[in-house]
Amino acid sequence: MRFIGKAILYLFLICTGLFLVTFPIYFFNIDMKLTSMIEPLLLKHYDRIDRDQHL
């Protein structure tokens, strides 16, 4: 019983921790803010790729 109680407690703490980390990312749109910084780098990379451009 004590083991189950501990497991539930740890699970709760993990979930709370994850929530505390991810919810601000979600709410303040940090995921999108980060990925929007990656896009220009990727576009530069695509411009450098050799392509067999033709009809």
């Binding site: 896009e39 990727l42 790729i49 451009q53």
Partner: protein, 532 residues
């Protein structure tokens, strides 16, 4: 004639959380300042769904070849914007409406992730799994996939769907590079930018190479038909992938074209059998047909609901899902049937409670024409900014008839005609072809059926089929006293008419002609030209 006017309906229940959605936009920014506060319950629900989307994306990225593809194909950069697309489509939604949107959008994301995974697995440049490549049949983006309903072990794979169609949904600027490439090769700038961009992907050497064969269709317009010629040239002459051109009759309402259409379906199936070695499976076909019928039944019921004072699945929630489920899925993916059931439950629940999706319903509108692909969430904006309820849109007004779903000798013959009918009447072309009645007369019938007091008429400026009815639309609306708002756009290219340019056309009409003030003034002018 007096102008028709709908009596404003005020939502008795206040909308929880944010109400000034324009404040979430960062002027000139690519993304928004923060996500929407929808009250505790709905925010947590949205957050939970966001985690689910991240999980889907995480699983996708965990496959090394998908990462390799990310660095090979320019259009893959657009997939960085997946969560934002969902945010755009769910703006202002609460309760059942938010849940319906997520049910659809999240499933579409999973489906597109699977499609991408399959493409890169078979792609000669990326995964190069030759055996897997052989079970893929390439189809157009804008093609009814009915001819694949009897091949349980083959995949109908559209390269254009992820490279252009979905990309533009994710990032309004996604097609610009490919449009420019096509024009550099001499293509005129006045053709529809959708096939133009698809041709541009092929010219730019940015289309994955896979598949046992390809089935192209004359889809929606002269541009699509001709754009396929650019793509098939490279497929056949360079990649060695044989192509079958499936011409669906344009005058699809005429009895004397149906034998021709059915024969082309037979030939397409035979072509696929020859090039894949797989045989047509009638059991699987009728299983898919039952799912197609269920989707049709659900859509009919949703549209019937939208004829009442309490529409439930409408606007963005109706348009994108219908396009995906009807055309690309076409009964082949059971998960969409389960999604239909969940949507039906949610819609019925909200309908019983007489729920409303916005603080006020001021106008009931039929949205007609070809919507701006780079601004598909415009329908959400219409509701939130002006209280205009987009009851249905032209692309959702598709087949309402049931097809044969039990396996009998007669039905096997009928099945060719059913597949032909679905192909002829696939999204967009069922209205842009087939004579003026299906485009012009039907619109005004829908206005009556849905008790609409307004028409929002998307004028995709290079869609010749729609442009060709411009004056007649105006004449008829004037005769009947229906306010008609023209909304010009260039489908895939926001450089011609921006999102704000799209909104301005409604803003000006609502203020000057209708003499109304917006429901949410913060949404009237948004600096989102650089936004995804």
């Amino acid at each position: 004639m007096a102008v028709k006017k709908f009596k404003t309906m005020v939502n008795p229940k206040p909308i929880k959380g944010d109400k000034k959605y324009g404040e979430l936009y960062k002027p000139g920014g690519k993304v928004r300042k923060r996500r929407e506060w929808r009250g505790v319950g709905d925010t947590l629900y949205d957050y939970w769904r966001w985690l689910g989307i991240l999980l889907t994306l995480g699983k996708f990225v965990a496959v090394p070849r998908n990462v390799k593809a990310m660095f090979r194909y320019r259009w893959m950069a657009n997939y960085l914007a997946v969560p934002m697309m969902v945010d755009r489509f769910t703006q202002g939604l609460r309760g059942e409406y938010l849940r319906m949107a997520h049910e659809q959008q999240d499933l579409i994301i999973i489906d597109v992730a699977k499609l991408l995974g399959n493409i890169f697995r078979g792609d000669r440049r990326i995964g190069n799994d030759e055996e897997f490549s052989k079970i893929n049949v390439l189809v157009d983006e804008n093609e009814m996939t009915a001819v694949m309903m009897g091949f349980p072990n083959l995949k109908s794979t559209s390269r254009e769907t992820p490279s252009t169609y979905v990309s533009v949904l994710l990032n309004q600027h996604a097609a610009e590079h490919y449009i420019d490439v096509a024009q550099e090769y001499g293509l005129a700038g006045d053709v529809c930018p959708m096939p133009e961009a698809e041709a541009g992907v092929s010219i730019d050497d940015d289309a994955p190479i896979l598949g046992a064969c390809a089935v192209q269709c004359n889809t929606t317009c002269d541009g699509s038909l001709l754009g396929n010629g650019v793509i098939s040239r490279r497929l056949e002459k360079e990649d060695g992938i044989p192509v079958f051109q499936l011409p669906a009759p344009l005058r699809h309402k005429e009895d004397d074209v149906q034998d021709y259409a059915a024969e082309e379906i037979r030939r397409a199936i035979k072509f696929i059998e020859e090039h894949t070695g797989h045989k047509w499976d009638w059991d699987y076909y009728f299983e898919c047909a039952r799912r197609v019928n269920y989707a049709t039944k659900c859509r009919n019921e949703w549209l019937d609901m939208n004829k009442t004072d309490y529409p439930q699945i409408f606007g963005g929630n109706l348009a994108l899902y219908t396009e995906t489920n009807y055309m690309a899925i076409c009964g082949k993916v059971p998960e969409f049937e389960r999604c239909d059931r969940r949507l039906m439950k949610l819609a019925e629940k909200a309908y019983k409670k007489q729920k409303m999706a916005a603080p006020e319903y001021r106008h009931r509108a039929i949205v007609w024409g070809v919507q701006s692909h780079f601004y598909m969430d415009f329908l959400v904006w219409l509701l939130n900014c002006w209280g205009i309820v987009p009851l249905t849109d032209m692309l959702s007004c598709i087949n309402t008839e049931m097809i044969a779903e039990t396996d009998t000798p007669e039905n096997r013959e009928q099945a060719y005609y059913d597949m032909a009918m679905l192909t002829e009447e696939m999204i967009m072309r069922n209205r842009t072809h087939g004579g003026y009645k299906v485009l012009l007369d039907d619109l005004f019938e829908f206005v009556e059926q849905y008790n609409a007091d307004m028409i929002i008429l998307w004028e995709h400026i290079t869609c010749k089929a729609l442009d060709g009815m411009h004056g007649l639309f105006e004449d008829k609306a004037r005769e009947r006293g229906i306010p008609l708002i023209w909304v010009d756009h260039q489908l895939f290219d926001p450089r011609v008419i921006s999102r704000q340019g799209v909104r301005d056309q409604v803003n000006q009409y609502m203020r000057t002609v209708m003499q109304e003030e917006p429901l949410d003034p913060t949404l009237e002018i948004l600096d989102d030209d650089n936004s995804w």
